[in-house]
């Protein structure tokens, strides 16, 4: 926090030294707009990262990195570009983490004395059952979520990404293509195949 506070001061001073009060106001307005944008996407972004990485803390790190990168490098861009940019950054971060994890897994597999120290200890509070009684609807939704997340986890990464960006985030084909860094035709193909696979997987399941 202090790091950013000290960095923010010269920025403001620079604006004031030019006698351009509007610049500071504009920066504040942009910060507010960015805050609003990030608040709107953070939960869905976390869910997408969690589905891809299957690890809560890694997903949080990926989302945080994507937020910072967007704020530092692209906050000056038009607000309508933020969403595809943000998901593009997030996707790159997820891919980096997956690669690093793969490399680490290979290295650890060669170690003679590998233990379980890398495994996170389960949080007893998180593991504790909720004291509130679970209604039947809740149970059905839990089962539906679990089944869908398992099926999504088995999809190839690009299909998974296309499906989540289109279905959960609600991006159109063009924005999804921008976020995925591919053509609109590729998005349609990935999305169609994802739907086919999910339907085949969840065909007998109640959604």
């Amino acid at each position: 926090m202090p790091e950013f506070a000290t960095l923010a001061s010269p920025y403001s001073m620079l604006a004031a030294s030019h006698g351009d009060v509007d610049l500071t106001d504009e920066a504040k307005t942009r910060s507010r707009a960015l805050n609003q944008f990030l608040a709107g996407v953070e939960l869905k972004a976390f869910k997408i990262a969690q589905t891809a990485l299957r690890h809560e803390d890694d997903a949080l790190d990926a989302v945080q990195d994507a937020m910072l990168q967007l704020a530092r490098a692209y906050a000056h861009r038009p607000a309508q570009e933020w969403k595809p940019l943000f998901y593009r950054i997030l996707e790159n971060r997820i891919r980096d983490m997956q690669r690093r994890r793969t490399v680490r897994g290979r290295v650890i597999a060669w170690l003679p004395f590998r233990g379980e120290e890398d495994e996170d200890e389960p949080d007893p509070i998180a593991q504790a059952p909720s004291p509130e009684p679970q209604p039947m609807r809740r149970l059905e939704l839990d089962q539906a979520v679990g089944a869908l997340e398992r099926a999504l986890g088995e999809l190839p990464r690009r299909q998974q990404q296309a499906f989540l960006l289109r279905t959960l985030e609600g991006l159109d084909v063009a924005a999804t293509a921008a976020a995925m860094g591919c053509s609109e035709g590729s998005v349609k193909t990935h999305y169609f195949r994802a739907l086919q696979a999910l339907r085949a997987q969840l065909g007998d399941f109640y959604l």
């Binding site: 926090m1 950013f4 506070a5 960095l7 923010a8 010269p10 920025y11 920066a27 942009r30 910060s31 960015l34 805050n35 990030l38 608040a39 953070e42 939960l43 869905k44 976390f46 869910k47 809560e56 949080l60 989302v63 945080q64 937020m67 910072l68 967007l70 704020a71 530092r72 490098a73 906050a75 000056h76 998180a126 059905e140 939704l141 539906a144 979520v145 869908l148 997340e149 989540l164 279905t167 959960l168 609600g170 739907l195 999910l198 339907r199 969840l202 065909g203 007998d204 399941f205 109640y206 959604l207």
Partner: protein
């Protein structure tokens, strides 16, 4: 809930509803961490990492000027008359190094003949006195 035997759009709608439900149920700890991350990001607006050379732009002008003057003075300083002892000292130092590194000098030290050098010194003193 409906079985997934409906048309494609129905499937998508149901999937979205399920996913949105799972998003709505993200726990408080995660929401808190996301909120913190967002605050950090918002504070970081406009603080993009600059290239190393851009750091000079943030240095106070006086410090930059002083550093430049000092650098110019050191670079263009002409050797003056009273610097000659230093230069001589450098030459002497080089000669000392030659003597120390010389193999003959090492032999001289190893084969130390005290009485001979005392006699030679006496001879030198005697010659100097007789010359004067």
């Amino acid at each position: 809930m409906r079985p997934v035997t409906s048309p494609l759009t129905e499937f998508e709608r149901n999937a979205r509803a399920v996913l949105e439900d799972s998003v709505a149920r993200v726990d408080g700890r995660t929401r808190s961490r996301l909120n913190q991350a967002r605050q950090l990001a918002v504070e970081a607006v406009g603080t993009r990492h600059r290239p190393w050379w851009r750091a000079f732009a943030l240095m106070p002008a006086g410090a930059v000027a002083a550093a430049l003057v000092l650098a110019v003075m050191l670079w263009h300083r002409e050797p003056t008359a009273h610097e000659s002892p230093l230069l001589e000292g450098r030459v002497t130092g080089v000669e000392d190094m030659d003597l120390l590194a010389d193999a003959d000098g090492l032999d001289l030290v190893e084969g130390w003949d005290g009485p001979f050098y005392e006699w030679a010194a006496d001879q030198t003193d005697t010659n100097v006195q007789s010359d004067s």
